[in-house]
Assembly symmetry: C2
Homo-oligomer: 279 residues x 2
Amino acid sequence: FSCGSFSDRWYKMGVYNRVPTDIYKVELGKAITPEMVDKVLSTGEYDLITVTHNETSTGITNPIEAIGEVVKKYDDIIYCVDAVSSAGGIKIEVDKCHIDICITSVQKSLGLPPGMSICTFSEKAMRRAQKVPFRGVYFDLLAMYEYIINKNHQYPSTPSLSHMFALNFQLDQILKEGLDNRFKRHEEMANLVRTWAKDHFKIYTDTNYLSNTLTVIENTKGISVCELNQKLQERGFVIANGYGDLKEKTFRISHMGDYTVDDIEELLKNINDILELRL
Amino acid sequence: FSCGSFSDRWYKMGVYNRVPTDIYKVELGKAITPEMVDKVLSTGEYDLITVTHNETSTGITNPIEAIGEVVKKYDDIIYCVDAVSSAGGIKIEVDKCHIDICITSVQKSLGLPPGMSICTFSEKAMRRAQKVPFRGVYFDLLAMYEYIINKNHQYPSTPSLSHMFALNFQLDQILKEGLDNRFKRHEEMANLVRTWAKDHFKIYTDTNYLSNTLTVIENTKGISVCELNQKLQERGFVIANGYGDLKEKTFRISHMGDYTVDDIEELLKNINDILELRL
């Protein structure tokens, strides 16, 4: 299922790894719905589905829990979720959502330098992996899991230890903040940006599925996003231009990780100042 | 071609990725020779060969330059070299050795924390890759190269930036030391360990192909390597037990990266002290 550039990448992975793969695309800015998933799975043609939780090219957060309810009806479907930009910023309960494989990375809502991936996987995914004869080496989760269990949490090849130490530190910080507080902080930052976007521009994304970690804004004033960003950078801030075809047509403000409500207020104040925006 | 656990891994990669693969094994502690490679390539049955430059399970450094002379005779062979534990400690001239793909990692002779791989590849390897339709996504060197060239050294997915900054710093340090000085330092450390090993134990490896980054020593005195290592660790040192089947039968002393001749002397003095070794 694809709703943008990052969910397209799942499809690419299937194709480039010679796995029979189909793609179900929705219009940019729209979400994947449980109904779509049900329609596709009812054909009985699939073994595995992939959903990108938070699509940062369009600012959509897909309803992974409601989709999980649909997946639950189909015993033999493996449900994979890309939570790269949401984990740590938006609540994800993999068991409750019936997610079999949930992958994320450390450099988005977890707020660490890039370079390490993290994943959870279910017993159902393990049993399915046992039936796949050619699983590669580097990304063979089953072999990795068995090694970790049998060798007291060592890995089959040397992992990025400095990231592991950093993650250990950061997870302590996250627990200190409190998970619910952290998710609430992301929501508050998102609300600030949404209100500002509605006042001065327009939110690009279907408002029923807005992301709490990033907002995509339609460039209704025809500003030069590139120039705005250059001026922001001189002041120590940075936003993102639209992704791919949406460049200059949209721009993106991220509000995730260790950013605070104050940081976002400061950013918006600076954008107002540069663009001379007044209510 | 395999001369130990790490060269076995190349074979495993082929098999687990559903690539038709054969393995040519030599006795543990022996090297891969140009004659063996010539014999295998003359069958005309292969497209690509893999050689591990420095096999840390047995302390062998394979003669990659002489093997390259053989490969050169066979126009359509892609020559892959694993230089994980040698690059930065032993001179490697990929063009002179006719190496098409040379991979290494940052945590061995380059002396950085683990978590990033580095590779070189030839135009011949690029042209060959263009003929391979299913190259995966994450390790598709061709796609990565094209992206880097077209997007001013950006990557198709976020790389481990902190490792890149660290590597940039470390490469400056290495150039400051001077490449030849660095290789010479590795040789001097190796000579120290070899002399000590011959005086008190026995070198496990074929002495014509001894590694300058690591020495594997036969446990001729039947000491407990595990106990020795525990006592060394109390004093701030660490050596490695034998790898796999060679555990306790051998032990391994690494002399690579940023270690100095003084460090190695201090280590050997401490081993002498713990084991009460005297000449």
